[in-house]
């Protein structure tokens, strides 16, 4: 059984149709890249999987671990192992990263019927995972994303992903606005977390990220539909020819 199965998904926002029949299957351990020009539904697809309710799913279904994902609230999807790395991580003044993570981990544990994580264990986990993205202690003590640079925000996303150890990670334009050093750190963070059980969806419109994280599949999302699927070579082809050539395909 596949981990995630999206069948004929239609979705609109305020009456405007954005996804027009998306089909996508992801198996355990796979890395999928979704590429495509801006405004064609990539971020919408990510947000719908994570459970953002500003979108109306008008048709189709999403099956995750055999469950109807669309019936679960956002937090239950997270507890079931879905993680969304935001394109624009939100600043939350007054909530420290450690308090934020502790609450998230313990609420996920509560969902699974587990006791809260002991403080010592939590602190150890923080220390361990901070290293993956080379996060400084100073940064970890600050409010979530408040006053962070673009690179720091993206590092923080990967740090949270490492802390929560999701089954399916969706990274929405994690490479945008990153300089080459930050990109390297973020990519090696993602690679360090790859396992035969965990799957990843990378949303990007540059091939650059895929030099660091090698995908098993590349899909092109164009005008609300996946119009082409291929290997990592497809990304190179897109980079060379641009998205324009898709129109003539």
């Amino acid at each position: 059984m596949s981990l995630l199965e999206i069948k004929n998904l239609y979705c609109s926002i305020k009456g405007k149709e954005i996804l027009k029949g998306v089909d996508l299957t992801i198996n355990e351990g796979e890395v999928h890249a979704i590429m495509g020009p801006n405004g064609n539904g990539k971020s919408t697809l990510a947000a719908v999987i994570a459970g953002k309710d500003t979108f109306d799913v008008t048709q189709g279904e999403i099956i995750y671990k055999g469950k109807n994902l669309l019936e679960l609230p956002v937090e239950a999807r997270a507890a079931e192992g879905i993680f969304l790395g935001f394109q624009y991580p939100v600043e939350i003044p007054g909530v420290s990263i450690s308090n934020f993570m502790k609450t998230a981990i313990n609420e996920q544990r509560k969902y699974k019927g587990l006791d809260p994580m002991p403080t010592m264990e939590f602190m150890k986990l923080m220390e361990e995972k901070k290293k993956i993205v080379e996060m400084t202690a100073k940064l970890a003590n600050r409010s979530v994303n408040e006053g962070f640079s673009g690179g720091e925000k993206k590092k923080n996303e990967i740090f949270q992903m490492a802390m929560l150890n999701p089954t399916l990670s969706i990274l929405d334009e994690t490479d945008s606005g990153l300089d080459i050093d930050a990109l390297r750190i973020v990519a090696s963070g993602v690679n360090a977390l790859r396992s035969p059980e965990n799957s990843t969806i990378l949303i990007t419109h540059y091939q650059r990220l895929l030099d660091y994280i090698i995908p098993d599949f590349v899909h092109v999302l164009y005008e609300g539909k996946i119009v082409k699927t291929g290997s990592k070579e497809l990304a190179k082809e897109l980079e060379e020819k641009g998205y324009e050539w898709l129109k003539y395909e």
């Binding site: 953002k52 939350i92 308090n99 609420e107």
Partner: protein, 388 residues
């Protein structure tokens, strides 16, 4: 209509009603009971020339100190209240705490006049708690006048925590001389009708006032903050940060008046009032009022009324945090920066805890307090269906 009885002098056995403790924080306690200074059992036998007594005693024994303050008719002996005098060059490292207990069996009218003088080059931290210990009706009218002499500093913490049937009107006047520094942390936690009139007058140069306030109101509660800052002298800085969360049908009013006199050049005055409404029945009326009579000033003001940030809610929930916990975290974070400049860490911890519990709908008073708020306190929660 209730007929109110005037408060009378407390008896010695009333002392049992004082049982407030702030863990890990050592304070000198001063007891006030229905407005009266409780003569006995005060911790206030501090030396260093510090005077703590009733206002009437002060009028008789310390005329010399009071006279040039132009306070009130010294021959009038009807006033109740406390007199605190910190002499020059005194750094009182332990905070003073005035615990004002309100207790009555019948509708009670309370009036008090407190006077605090912080001498030149002196430092004081003063904590004032207004607590009602039962659910009976009272109506308090308190006035407090506080003088900060040259080069002095005061950190002033005020906690208002009275029952839903009672009113408390507090008239607070700060007079700041040269180079003095004032910080206030004003928490209106519970009360039927709370009205705070706060006046800061800069009567010297190079002084600074940081006024921080937080109000958490629900049910039918009413809170009104009227702040006036008079920049009567040049080179002074004032900063107001008032925040509130309103639930149910609660109402809040904020009036922030800044007055900058013609010759008060290099004035900096900031004002910020931010509110979160959890229902569409709650009402906030916020009114900045800047009166500026010269050009060489820096004045800013801002007011916001809104709901909790939806994008932050989604972000938190996408990490597995439930909707309710996410709301709590956001509300708590919203409140917390009001205390960011407080230096008494132990008290700050306690206040953060009190705020947290108040938001969860638990008793907002300290654990050891005898406040018997029988009426279940409502929890602060957003009912999105009620917001249009």
């Amino acid at each position: 209509m209730n007929s109110f009885k005037k408060a009378t002098r407390p008896r010695e056995e009333d002392f049992k009603d004082f049982s407030c403790n702030i863990p890990q924080l050592n304070t000198y306690r001063i007891n006030q009971y229905n407005g009266f200074f409780f003569e006995k059992n005060n911790d206030a036998n501090i030396d260093k020339g510090i005077i703590i007594c009733s206002i009437n005693t002060a009028k008789q024994k310390h005329k010399d100190i009071l006279e040039n303050k132009n306070l009130f008719d010294l021959s009038d002996n009807d006033d109740e209240g406390i007199f605190i005098y910190i002499p020059n060059n005194t750094d009182l490292d332990i905070p003073l705490q005035i615990l004002d207990i309100i207790k009555t069996e019948e509708p009670l009218l309370i009036g008090s006049r407190n006077v605090v003088i912080v001498g030149e080059n002196s430092k004081l931290k003063l904590i004032c708690c207004d607590d009602s210990v039962n659910n009976n009706i009272s109506n308090s009218n308190n006035s407090i006048k506080i003088f900060l002499e040259n080069n002095s500093s005061l950190e002033y913490y005020k906690m208002e925590n009275i029952n839903d049937s009672s009113s408390i009107f507090t008239d607070t006047n700060f007079v700041l001389r040269n180079n003095s520094e004032l910080k206030t942390f004003w928490l209106s936690l519970n009360g039927g009708n709370i009205k705070n009139k706060l006046v800061v007058s800069f009567e010297g140069e190079y002084s600074r006032a940081e006024l921080n306030g937080l109000y958490l109101v629900d049910k039918e509660q009413l809170v009104d903050n009227q702040i006036s800052v008079y920049h009567n002298k040049p080179n002074c800085i004032s900063n107001q940060l008032y925040k509130g969360i309103l639930d149910d049908s609660a109402k809040a009013q904020f009036k922030g008046h800044v007055y900058v006199k013609k010759d008060s050049v290099h004035t900096e005055a900031m004002q910020n009032n931010r509110n979160i409404l959890l229902t569409d029945k709650a009402i906030v009326n916020t009114q900045p009022f800047l009166e500026i009579y010269n050009d060489d000033v820096k004045c800013l003001h801002g007011a916001t009324i809104g709901q909790l940030d939806e994008s932050a809610m989604f972000y938190m929930r996408s990490r597995g945090i439930s909707e309710r916990s996410a709301k709590m975290l956001l509300m708590y974070a919203f409140c917390n920066d009001v205390l960011s400049k407080a230096s008494l860490e132990e008290l700050k911890d306690r206040l953060q805890d009190v705020i947290k519990r108040r938001l969860h709908g638990e008793l907002s008073s300290c654990e050891n307090c005898v406040l018997n708020c029988n009426a279940p306190c409502g929890s602060f929660d957003i009912d999105m269906s009620k917001i249009q």
